[in-house]
């Protein structure tokens, strides 16, 4: 597959999600979905990563941290917003602590809708970003 020429490393940051999206992102690593098929490697530190998956609405406190983490990543870098919360604030957008959505805080390259999105659709998001990298 032409996509497999690159091996992007992915990391996740939980910008105040309900955990649902994080679970599905983690499920992506486990035997049934196994994102390593696409040459992706999971990294714990965003400094090593090429793709940052962001979940959650981005609260006032985590927005600052998210900005800092994004700045620490080495270019070229890509961001995927995972879940309705990351895209629009979801059910929490009327909350007093809402500082998002994520694309107001950092630039976003792909959006994966769903509450939470299935692991397959998150993988599709990653693959779309791989196409964009070419």
């Amino acid at each position: 597959m032409a996509l497999m020429k690159k091996s992007p490393w992915v990391a996740v940051y939980n910008a105040s999600s309900c955990n649902g999206c994080d679970l599905e992102v983690l499920a992506m690593l486990t035997p049934r979905y196994d994102i390593e098929r696409f040459g992706c490697l999971w990294r714990d530190s965003p400094r090593h990563a090429d793709i940052l998956l962001v979940t959650g609405i981005g609260t006032k406190q985590s927005a600052k941290r998210l900005k800092r983490i994004y700045d620490q990543m080495a270019s070229p870098k890509y961001v995927i917003a995972v879940g309705s919360c990351a895209i629009s604030g979801g059910v929490f957008k009327e909350g007093h602590n809402f500082a998002g959505p994520i694309d107001k805080i950092i630039p976003v390259d792909a959006y994966v809708p769903g509450c939470p999105p299935r692991p397959e659709s998150i993988i599709l998001g990653v693959v779309k970003v791989l196409e964009k990298m070419k």
């Binding site: 940051y13 939980n14 910008a15 105040s16 999600s17 309900c18 955990n19 649902g20 999206c21 994080d22 679970l23 599905e24 983690l26 499920a27 486990t30 035997p31 049934r32 714990d44 530190s45 965003p46 959650g56 609405i57 609260t59 406190q61 985590s62 941290r65 983490i69 979801g90 059910v91 929490f92 009327e94 909350g95 007093h96 602590n97 809402f98 509450c115 939470p116 299935r118």
Partner: protein, 380 residues
């Protein structure tokens, strides 16, 4: 005197949710812990105050993605107590069964995570592979893997059709879980990393009002399913696993044993469920006044309190299990080796999304406010 101040989090490989712990170390021994919260504070209780009672159910289950059904059931229990109704028997059995399925998935997830903390990646992958079997059941009957939206006030959304499928899926996890449990029990590395790590005594557990598996690991019998039976728990037989040592190892064992008890409960539900119809709507009156509901979530007692006026919620108060267990974390950590901190944090099975409260930080100053002060200053 502490030598170093080590920040742990908010983005840290060992904790998947952002909390920040400031560890005061002397050499490599932990001398003090300062937790800085507020990264995931979404203001859920405040958002509740504008919701009407039917929409609020979906908000309640989005408090947390792991124990989403526990929040939904606490919510329905609170509302149904206000209306003085009880769901019909078949619905009660269905709800009990789904609550136990959720316990299975949560404990499997957590067991894998605990093994991940001590570097057993293989066990992590194996536990999570089994977890998918449970998620398949959820997906088949509710259409979603994480947020099921299964409860409705007075009833449930869907009936189940083939009971054998559920039985098969649930029993298919048992051989692996059995062998992994004996692996964990007999393994020297696991014993070295878990035994005598983060101990709490029986007395401390009572003083801190611990809930759930951390309390049962020090011999406190506090299972809400036994103490205040709801839905069909009064009609099912199961044991609460009790251990005495109160350390991370005991907490692990309590949860692994609970997996087998949950399977027993699911079997009984499938056997005893009356073959009646699930009502589409059984709301005769609207809830009014105040009411509370508590359920045993996978992590312990989950308590919801609501005041309702004209089918709008005017006040919500939620005490999820992690909020009750969190204060004890400092006791567990004092005197521990710094390398054991991830294991201790994981051993209480924290769900930060549930317990997040507010700390206002301005520059280097932090202030913790009461609700009135907060409203006056920041919501005005």
């Amino acid at each position: 005197m502490s030598d170093y101040l080590v920040p742990f989090g908010p983005q840290h490989p060992a904790i998947k949710e952002p909390i920040s712990l400031r560890l005061k170390l002397s050499g490599s021994t932990v001398e003090g812990v300062d937790a800085q919260l507020g990264y995931i504070h979404r203001g859920v209780e405040k958002i509740f105050e504008r919701e009407n009672i039917n929409n609020a159910l979906y908000l309640a289950e989005r408090i947390c993605g792991i124990c989403s059904y526990a929040h939904a059931s606490a919510y329905t229990r609170a509302m149904e107590s206000m209306m003085h109704i009880r769901a019909p028997p078949r619905v009660q059995y269905l709800r009990t069964m789904f609550a136990e399925l959720e316990r299975l998935h949560s404990h499997l997830l957590w067991a894998g995570f605990m093994c991940h903390e001590i570097g057993f990646e293989t066990l992590f992958q194996l536990f999570w592979r089994e977890r998918e079997q449970i998620l398949d059941v959820f997906e088949r009957y509710t259409g979603n893997r994480v947020h099921h939206s299964y409860n409705k006030l007075g009833t449930v959304r869907y009936d189940i059709e083939d009971e054998d499928y559920i039985r098969e899926q649930v029993h298919s996890i048992l051989p692996t879980v059995k062998s992994l449990r004996s692996e964990i029990k007999g393994n020297g590395v696991v014993a070295a990393r878990f035994k005598k790590v983060g101990p709490v005594t029986h007395k401390q557990a009572i003083e801190y009002c611990l809930v759930g598996p951390p309390a049962r690991a020090c011999g406190v019998k506090n299972d809400i399913r036994k103490l205040d039976p709801y839905e069909a728990y009064g009609k099912t037989k199961f044991k609460q696993p009790i251990y005495k040592s109160g350390d991370s190892y005991a907490r692990t064992m309590v949860r692994l044993d609970e997996i087998f008890e949950s399977v027993k409960i699911i079997d009984q539900c499938l056997r005893d469920m009356p073959a009646t119809k699930v009502p589409k709507h059984s709301l005769k009156a609207l809830p009014q006044g105040e009411g509370y509901g508590r359920v045993e979530a996978p992590r312990g007692e989950n308590f919801h309190y609501y005041i309702v006026k004209d089918s709008k919620i005017t006040r919500a108060k939620i005490r999820p299990p992690t909020l009750a267990v969190f204060p004890a974390l400092e006791t567990m950590m004092l005197g521990a080796h710094v390398g054991d901190v991830p294991v201790i944090v994981a051993s209480i099975d924290p769900c930060i999304g549930c317990m997040e409260r507010i700390t206002v930080t301005k520059g280097r100053r932090t202030e913790t406010l009461t609700e009135q002060e907060f409203r006056r200053k920041y919501c005005g």
